[in-house]
Symmetry: C2
Subunit: 423 residues, 2 copies
Amino acid sequence: MPHTPGPADRAGLRRANLDLLVRMLRERGQVSRAQLAVHSGLSKATVSSLVGDLARRGVVRPAGITAGGQGRPGELVELRPAAACGVGLDLQVDHVGATVVDLTGEVLLRRRIACDVPSSGHERVLDLLADVLTGVLDDVRARGGWVVGATAAVPGLVDTDGAVVRFASRLRWREVALRDGLAARTGLALDFFGADNDANLAAVAEHDAGAAAGLDDFVHLAGGHGVGAGVFSRGELVRGHLGYAGEVGHMMLDPLGPWCSCGRRGCWETQVGLGALLHACATPDDPVHDPALDPDARMVLVRARAETGDRRTLDALHQIGAALGAGAAVLVNLLNPAAVVLGGYFAALPEWLVEPVRSEVAARVLAEGAGGATVVASRLGFRGPSTGGAVHALRRVLDEPAVVPVDEHAENTANVPEGMVAP
Amino acid sequence: MPHTPGPADRAGLRRANLDLLVRMLRERGQVSRAQLAVHSGLSKATVSSLVGDLARRGVVRPAGITAGGQGRPGELVELRPAAACGVGLDLQVDHVGATVVDLTGEVLLRRRIACDVPSSGHERVLDLLADVLTGVLDDVRARGGWVVGATAAVPGLVDTDGAVVRFASRLRWREVALRDGLAARTGLALDFFGADNDANLAAVAEHDAGAAAGLDDFVHLAGGHGVGAGVFSRGELVRGHLGYAGEVGHMMLDPLGPWCSCGRRGCWETQVGLGALLHACATPDDPVHDPALDPDARMVLVRARAETGDRRTLDALHQIGAALGAGAAVLVNLLNPAAVVLGGYFAALPEWLVEPVRSEVAARVLAEGAGGATVVASRLGFRGPSTGGAVHALRRVLDEPAVVPVDEHAENTANVPEGMVAP
């Protein structure tokens, strides 16, 4: 029985064009509407209407007159950086935190509070997370900024609309109403909050301004205690039917492999998860296992040993690199990405992991030259998920410009340049 | 560095709406423009313009007046089935063939010629394929139909624009200029021809009117000597960076597994390819291996043995089902599809394969209830790729209505109903 899709989405077109203009403003700084029209391929009338929309919401502001050039002088506009900020909430085994990103893509601030999340119970963790968020909102407000939303990066399965954490084994969370919990604690509206899988959000951050900027098809692999993938196809996240795509940590790649915490054998994360690295590179009493170490500090330790040529550490990294490459090759054969981005803890050890993954992928992928796939390290590493959360929250400005209120930026809308519609 | 996408595509909107109308006409038969407007959510003016476009090209035709109902009577339109047909060209190890599908999705005819493709050399095979196509075009013309294009289903890697077969190991083809070769032999225009990977096209057929109709996210697994996947995400094929996505046959799922024809060990197709089934279910001198058997006849033999309870055959199917499920679970963990469709030879043995795959997937997928993924058998089986090729070729009518010429259907455009624009 043939399928009848809904009518094509005109609002989507406007959103795409708003997105285009904001991206151009992010790249170019101060630009006239005429220049925006030329470089976007949109008509001047469309550009004026879209810029007017952004101006009314304080997202862009006047920036003087074009200097020199041909034709009559044009009024420049630029992004008002703090006009809209997004918050990414970090929710990991050993800490909660927040990252604030402004409209230009700059990270304004980061916060982190150590917390034994699995032992604390989710009510206590939500209290902490709400405290972190409230503090961050105050900080942003003190800088004259405005936060449009907050998206939590969750190491587990989140439902499609980001309201409920279905299952996050490492946090020991099951069916936690994250959105309701945060809204109730902060007094903010439900639609202020979003949530997504941390590997998805790390991929969003890479796509926005990281190692995968400009790539329509790529895979981001997030190495932590678990291993997750964020997959982009045709410029968008592959979420799957119910939003659970990207669970690569439990791909069975060796029927006789070690037992996994999930109760099965040979899962990929038993080979390449942080536990596998630490187990291989250090005896059980080694300080690298100290649960009080934060993830960055632990990687500093491992790096230092690798740099000084510690045999056991180098052997461990060799082993991880080979297994990471073997699994990455499965994904490359299936998805033919332009890049495999190594994030999370992998990104802290690029000198020892990128090349082995590259050569395993080249050897194991059927298409010549690995089907054009490069292997690169993320520059965000552990900060990827919360950065991506902030970018995700910020996208609401583009998706629904009405979320940025008009009246809060009176000082700005008073100076709406010619051609922009007053509120 | 942020990425600047091109301006959003307005032509895409018109294409999507044309697609919508043709799908509605396929489902509903005879419909008035007012009904199309109501059910599509498009304005009457837009529907009139689109229907006019289709009428000028003979894709729709008048179909009388609405009987009864409220308001003033409306003129009905319906698809003119043979107005536009698509041809799918089949290119397999042991035969070449063609399938013709008309606008309503009906299969008009199928042709098949036995041919030892790997031994024949590609020039000879292209001769045969051109002969098959020419015969089919004559047949369709004799029925008053018109063929808009032909898309070849290739068991291998095809470049993004469908012009060149990069590598098809089982055909022993490398860098074969398929499009140029067929155009030169038939005198047809280059853009008459397309080509895609056979697993991709089988998925297109399932999505159009098969087991995955209406599903935005699914995986089609094509079992043959090789195993390929066609992946749909958000209603479209996942092609990857250079169009090589879906090469799941060489996923390494067992480091100690058997050697594969690709020179590596433990590839999935050594476990679940047709070769693995035949090897497991019959001694080397068994007639089931006879190279003269066509694929359907071979499956009839295997089925007959399974139905009569032949122990060796049932054991072989049990083994294939388990390995198929284990690999399918990798894909389900990664992609969270709504369905896994078993095509190719798997579709010939659903009673013995569907349930084992379902239970392996349920046991191995992290998300509860297999993340909502069902496991179903294709109804197309070996006919999937060429049917999908025909559907693909036919889509050119929707993507570029101008490919259907106006003048060939003078008898039709003479009767353009009121409101339709004359050419």
